[in-house]
Amino acid sequence: MAATKIADISWFHDFPPFFTLQPNLDTRRKQLDAWCSLLLDYCRLKKVCTFDVNDASKFPPFFNAKINRQLDNHFIQILLEELRSRGNIEWEDKNKRRCLIFWNSLEEWAKNVYQWITSRGMNRTVCTFYELLHGDDTRSADFHNIDPKLFRRILHELEKRGQATVFSENGADGVKFL
């Protein structure tokens, strides 16, 4: 992969004030913008689709050993709330411990997946989740190898639009694009 280090995604990560919540509101807005784009870029790059708050301290963007800085929990909460308000994460539980991460928005995801299917003429065919996520054919698709939970969420969105039907048969999940 081209960019593997976080510093390659955003030079801000080596900037110590990046890890302190800025009291000046204008500055803070820009700081949160920078954080959000860094996090989403990182997740896209590493195909990180879920996040558990309990593992926050192990989440690489949240610390930088080189400059000996790390985010405190308060800052992480503010960041997650910011991402949620932008539609980039969705809480999976009421306690707000686990969430899905949409580095593309849900609409974008749905559009992308449906376009990919249509371009392959796979409408009206039935596919299993497994072959779509891990099959050789989808290696070029950006949903290749993403988390099944995220994929199911995308398909549900398509279902809402009347563009897909999700069903379960013999323990295997399948989908039929319309």
Binding site: F12, F15, P16, P17, F19, T20, Q22, P23, N24, D26, T27, K30, Q31, A34, N68, R69
Partner: protein, 360 residues
């Protein structure tokens, strides 16, 4: 009453004025002749002095109750008869005791009338009571005499005496202070002269040395009152802001004497703005009171601080304080002000609070 006569050195005391002199005067103790014949007599504002080759005696006018003239007759020369009071203590004099209430001055060589006229004048003026002449031995003697008395007046006298002693010691102390101030003024003049010379020969000295010399003088408390010129470079180092406590130290150090109190400074500071002075009081966000130049350009100042931070990449309050020579608390205030204006951003870690250029 010749026991009122006391030995004297014949010198006029401070505040005492000579009125007249007359030769050929003898002293009689009452009607009896004494050894003091044909001397010269001096009338002063405070005393009658008599002297001949062998002796000098004095009679204080305050002890003279009244004075009469007895014109010359066949058997005697013209004489003055001075009736004396008893209240005086015995001071060392030629006569240990006397049975008479009066003392007579016999004018062998004339001049009695003139002398009589003048002594009447002096007794009427009572100049000795208006301006007591020194030495004060007479006074102290009178005091100790009174202190022997008992009763309320005795206590009052005692208190009065204590007051007098205190007053004397206080005025004595201030006398010393005045001398000190006089000398300090001389020092100031010397230092001014030196400073002027330095200015004239500036080419010989580097500006660094000049500044150092001036700061020495300043730290000795010898300089003109603090002015832009006298404080020199230190004046500008403060970045237009100086805490009241700093200002207090510097002002008093520069004054060296006649110091001002913190309260005076604060009161003065409060009025500065109303008086349209170039300096005004400003309370920093931390609650610290400070002086600020009225023409102080906040924006430019913060820009400069930002430049300092930029060239150093990052900076803590005490680094900035060291760099531009301002108190840490003011430095911190300045950095936060720059942050509020969006020029800087902060890094708050276990290493402390540091400020960076705002790159967001």
């Amino acid at each position: 009453m010749a026991d009122r006569l006391a030995w004297t050195d014949g010198q006029l005391h401070v505040g005492e004025a000579l009125v007249t002199t007359q030769n050929g005067v003898s002293i009689n103790d009452g009607p009896e002749k004494t050894d003091y014949q044909k001397g010269s007599i001096e009338l002063t504002s405070h005393r009658i002095l008599w002297k001949d080759k062998s002796a000098q005696v004095e009679l204080t006018l305050s002890s003279v109750i009244c004075c009469e003239k007895k014109d010359a007759s066949i058997i005697s020369k013209a004489r003055l008869i001075c009736t004396l009071s008893r209240s005086q203590t015995k001071r060392p004099g030629p006569f240990a005791s006397s049975t008479h209430d009066e003392i007579q001055f016999e004018f062998r060589d004339g001049g009695c009338n003139e002398f009589f006229r003048l002594i009447q004048e002096e007794l009427a003026k009572k100049r000795w009571s208006v301006q007591p002449a020194k030495p004060t031995t007479t006074m102290n003697a009178a005091m100790s005499d009174r202190s022997h008395r008992t009763g309320i007046s005795g206590i009052e006298n005692h208190l009065q005496h204590q007051l007098n002693v205190q007053h004397q010691s206080i005025s004595g102390a201030f006398q010393d202070l005045n001398n000190l101030m006089q000398q300090a003024k001389d020092m100031v003049n010397i230092s001014k002269t030196i400073a002027n010379k330095i200015q004239e020969q500036r080419s010989d000295l580097t500006s660094d040395e000049t500044i150092r010399f001036r700061s020495y003088l300043l730290s000795l408390g010898i300089d003109n009152p603090v002015t832009k010129e006298s404080a020199g470079s230190q004046y500008h180092d403060t970045n237009g802001i100086m805490t009241l406590s700093d200002a207090f130290c510097r002002i008093n150090r520069a004054r060296g004497y006649e110091l001002i109190s913190p309260e005076d400074l604060l009161n003065a500071a409060v009025h500065m703005e109303q008086l349209n002075l170039p300096v005004r009081l400003r309370v920093l966000s931390s609650g610290i009171k400070s002086f600020e130049l009225t023409n102080h350009n906040e924006e430019k100042d913060l820009k400069e601080i930002t430049n300092q931070v930029e060239s150093a990449k990052s900076m803590s309050a005490d680094q900035l304080a060291n760099l531009i020579g301002i108190p840490v608390i003011v430095a911190r205030e300045r950095l936060i002000a720059a942050e509020t204006n969006g020029l800087l951003c902060r890094d708050d870690s276990i290493e402390g609070l540091r400020f960076y250029p705002n790159l967001f």
